[in-house]
Symmetry: C2
Subunit: 435 residues, 2 copies
């Protein structure tokens, strides 16, 4: 997360609870589902083909996809998406962030649509399922409803959120974030494309170039939903390890990043006695071991993913080490305590090793609790398909567009197993039966 992204975050207002006036729609829908919706089944083979046919836009030889947001490949699948949903009876709207809403009319035109959304962009070396499954499962739902001639009570909107990965424009989930009011439109429009060192290519200029800069405000007010559901691969190994088929996602954990800089003294490896050293890397190694202990004790997660040392000479005691610490926990409060303990312990370790330490909290996202009515819908549906023992209630470990929709409308997610827990990688896999 960049500095400007952080600034945008701190400026944004973040209401915690979804607006209560919308809850009744969800309950109405749940009731309708129980009483009048027959138990339709998706066509596994058709969904499988849809995922793998559209993979041609960005397919890599290793079986993955490279389809960065707002590139010509993204344009191609967006155009396919628009023409496909039109054929299935939807009208489509594109907002100022290029978010596409494919709306299938419901019996009640006064109800805001029920959203089913995810994203069609990928990581630079991404897999075939992350995000894509969520949008194409929505298309499959349209097909099932269409072939059964079924009209839902509320309209249904299948949504492709723009630049969820944040791989090309360096803020993940930015477009659902503008829709929810978390990010300012100008901030998002000005995000530069990662590949253009001149910063002349922006999210807005690319939206314009590929013809997906809509006129409709990207806003939950101008373009409301009554709720948001997202089917996603777990991106972790828990469902597979526990032999579960479906994850009922009750929320998203609290997460964030620290950047830790340890300052020591540049000394000669062969001539400086051990007792006289101020080795930034020896200190950092102790900190890395310690933060892991802190996370384990709190039943949270800690990851040090990036580390670099200066001056990168084997014969020189490093005078500077910078590393990242990713800390997450189901509870925002516990995560705050983990950070406090980490800061104290790092200062203690630095001092004991004649070093100093600076810790910068560059990004954090509080825990999200999804809406009980939406969770209830997911729970009932999941159990009806996978049975009591085939489901698991769980908290998502990664960020998703649903984090932002949840700020404004009742939201929940459905997880399916990720083989080996692998994601953001060409080896990403979930079988069509698991879908």
């Amino acid at each position: 997360m960049s500095t400007c992204e952080r600034d945008a975050l701190s400026e944004a207002s973040l209401p915690i609870r979804p607006p209560s006036h919308l809850r009744k729609y969800v309950r109405a829908l749940a009731t309708a589902a129980d009483s009048s919706v027959p138990s339709y089944r998706v066509n596994e083979k058709r969904l499988w083909e849809s995922v793998h046919d559209t993979a041609k836009w960005g397919a890599t030889p290793d079986g993955g996809i490279r389809r960065l947001a707002l590139t010509d490949l993204d344009k191609a699948i967006r155009e396919w998406f628009v023409s496909t949903v039109k054929f299935l009876g939807c009208n489509t709207k594109v907002d100022e962030m290029g978010n596409i809403f494919a709306t299938r009319p419901g019996k009640s035109s006064s109800l805001p649509p029920i959203g089913i959304g995810s994203h069609l962009d990928t990581q630079p070396a991404g897999g075939r399922y992350d995000g894509i499954l969520g949008v194409l499962a929505g298309v499959e739902i349209l097909r099932v409803l269409e072939e059964n001639g079924h009209q839902t009570l509320a309209p249904l909107a299948i949504i492709d959120w723009t630049n969820e990965e944040g791989a090309r424009f360096n803020t993940g989930m930015v477009s659902s974030g503008v829709w929810s009011g978390r990010y300012a439109l100008d901030f998002a429009h000005a995000l530069p494309a990662a590949e253009d060192k001149s910063k002349a290519t922006t999210l807005k200029s690319e939206l314009e170039r590929i013809g997906f800069l809509g006129a409709m405000p990207a806003s939950y007010k101008a373009n409301p939903l009554s709720s948001h559901f997202e089917l996603h691969i777990e991106q972790g190994p828990i469902l597979e390890d526990e032999g579960k088929k479906v994850g009922i996602v009750t929320g998203v954990q609290s997460m964030g990043w620290l950047i830790v800089t340890v300052h020591g003294e540049n000394q000669h490896s062969g001539t400086c006695p051990m007792a006289r050293r101020a080795c930034a890397l020896t200190s950092a190694a102790r900190m890395i071991s310690r933060v892991e202990e802190i996370a384990l004790a709190a039943d949270g997660l800690s990851t040090v993913g990036v580390i670099n040392s200066w001056p990168q000479s084997p014969a020189t005691v490093p005078h500077k080490v910078v590393f990242s610490v990713d800390l997450s926990h189901h509870s925002s409060e516990v995560r705050e305590r983990m950070i406090a303990e980490t800061s104290e312990e790092f200062a203690r370790i630095a001092q004991a090793n004649k070093c100093t330490v600076e810790i910068e909290d560059i990004w954090n996202s509080p825990a999200v609790q999804f809406h009980p009515d939406c969770i209830g819908c997911v729970r009932d549906a999941a159990k009806s398909v996978a049975g009591e023992n085939g489901v698991k209630e769980m908290v998502a470990g990664a960020g998703h567009d649903s984090v932002h929709t949840s700020d404004r409308v009742p939201t929940s997610m459905i997880f399916v197993p990720s083989k080996g827990g692998i994601s953001h990688h060409p080896d990403e896999y979930t079988s069509s039966e698991q879908w």
Copy 2:
């Protein structure tokens, strides 16, 4: 140290003891010194000016010097050196490695000269004293002898060894190494200049370009010395910390580098449970702490100077970490035991963390014991200047050209304090009084 450098090392023959037939010359000289040499004193101010005047070739705004081997700046100081020593009655010889031998005739023309050598090249951001002091102190000795009209028994050779730092041509002490037979001439000539990615610029082509490719073989046989002395800054803090004025260097410690590669598994920081992780960096952190314990227990030195992780994403458990381990000890045998213990412990730590580890011994240099007669000369002279309590016998922690001369002729070194133990840095400092 590169692969080819390693190959050259393993091919070289490394006799341990200096040739015995030369010892008598050293003893003769020592006797002559005791009986007939008056107690001349160097002109501190003149030496100080010499060091700082010649710093113009490569002076940097921060007070340091950047004078990489065989650049135009190195050419300039070499030409100054040659003209200065000629004026002081020396004849000069340049060998195939560009080593310059400035020889002042002695009473006995049949004795090989007594060598006083070091180097005039620097690190990219080097100080004003490392190497330079050793050569220019030799020039000052010539001046003192000249102004006193004194002729030594054996001839005296002031030597500038080429590319000691190895900063431009990536093998330190390579030219004294060719002279001693440790490196093949062809290997050394073919070393590419670090700044030329095409590898077309070599040590030989640069010698030719600046006019310092001599015809004389770089060889202790074709161009013998009877002994070698080197005045050098300590590059460590021991003399300063203990309030000593002169270090009597009895040898050079055993040293070398391991490159350690830890392989883990690329996992998602937010979704992979701690217990399921194979984090290459968590393993590496434990290894870094452990090798320090091993070094402390053995009274040796360990340094991890370089570390890098892959894929450098804060939100990804790193699947690969590579780091260097510099291990040194006064005793080659103890250092071997440190390496064995390190290898065992690293394998154990890797396994306990579901990782694997590869350890490559990319360079090592056994301990060097300087010649007792030379050490005796240094001891007597040092005590006469600094008093019994002003001297300290010590083992050098870094490599010097004297390591290579010691393979062939009786050698010793003299250390003067380094302020704050700082070296290879513009802040390097030793007062003229300490010289």
